[in-house]
């Protein structure tokens, strides 16, 4: 019975091998840096403009010149890219939710602990739900559509069925924004069930 974390699900949807519930072999310092990046992303929407980058720089300063520094620089560039894409979206600054979470079932005993990192007003009475990927696994449109479905369900459950008009799957380390329409995400239900059957 796999209930997958979102990190596990997004890797599996892109073809990576996962063992549910078993942590990937990642250095503690990299986990710390990744956590800083996630925290900074929240600050993009919670705090005044510019604070997120200041926060990130302050938190990673202790790694300067060390072996983890290139990772810190790459994550900063990814954070800058998120901020740029957020600004380019041209939407009102209203953010409806941060870390909007729901365990979405995909058949008996199967589920994904989905988290939309930000749900923002789409300017037309609906919402845009976002998921941000910080890794470098290759993302295709088909896998983006699979990744989008639990995000869509989480946002719709919180803000009303049909309220989500777009899911943005943003791989910020790779300059890869994938906008996914709700109908395309829902069209991947069979693929997701097949994925669970393989795990």
């Amino acid at each position: 019975m796999p209930e997958l974390s979102q990190a596990e699900f997004t890797r599996a949807a892109r073809g990576a091998h996962i063992t549910p519930g078993v942590a990937p072999n990642v250095e503690p310092v990299i986990m710390g840096l990744s956590s800083v990046a996630h925290c900074a992303l929240r600050k993009v929407h919670r705090d005044p403009p510019g604070h997120a980058l200041v926060y990130f720089d302050r938190k990673v300063a202790k790694y300067a010149g060390g072996p983890a520094w290139p990772v810190a620089r790459a994550l900063r560039k990814a954070l800058e890219r998120y901020i740029a894409w957020d600004a380019a979206a041209g939407m009102p600054p209203r953010v409806d939710g941060i870390d909007v979470k729901l365990t979405v079932p995909f058949g008996p005993g199967h589920g994904v602990r989905a988290i939309s990192h930000a749900v923002v007003d789409d300017g037309a009475g609906g919402s845009e739900a976002r998921i941000v990927l910080w890794d470098e696994l290759r993302l295709r449109q088909s896998s983006a559509e699979m990744i989008a479905l639990p995000i869509l369900e989480a946002a719709d459950a919180r803000y009303g069925s049909g309220s989500t008009t777009l899911v943005n799957v943003w791989q910020v380390t790779q300059n890869q924004p994938f906008p996914v329409a709700p109908t395309h995400a829902r069209g991947r239900l069979t693929d997701i069930r097949a994925l669970f059957a393989r795990i």
């Binding site: 990190a7 942590a23 503690p28 929240r42 988290i115």
Partner: protein, 110 residues
Amino acid sequence: MDHHARILSTAAAEAVGEPDVIARRPEVIEMLRELASDPELPSAVARVVPEVFANIRGELEQLADELEPYRTEPLDDSPELVERLALIAWALQRANDTQATSEFSALAHA
């Protein structure tokens, strides 16, 4: 210790992206306290990673205390706690692996 290392590793990995990790896994706090009171732990960890923790017992107790509020609050603005949890899990795993290797070696030469 292997069981503890696996649970703590998984919790640390989840904590990176899931702010409710301690609310979902409150046993992490109990595990840290349990480990802190294990009389064999300090020497086991010090043997393999002496550079990491001068006072592993104190670090375990302190981390358990600092994680307490996150039974009910999201762990969404404390990346240092995530890294410390990951470091403890990593140290336990290394200590455990070393112990397993030693036991295998002893059996192989028996």
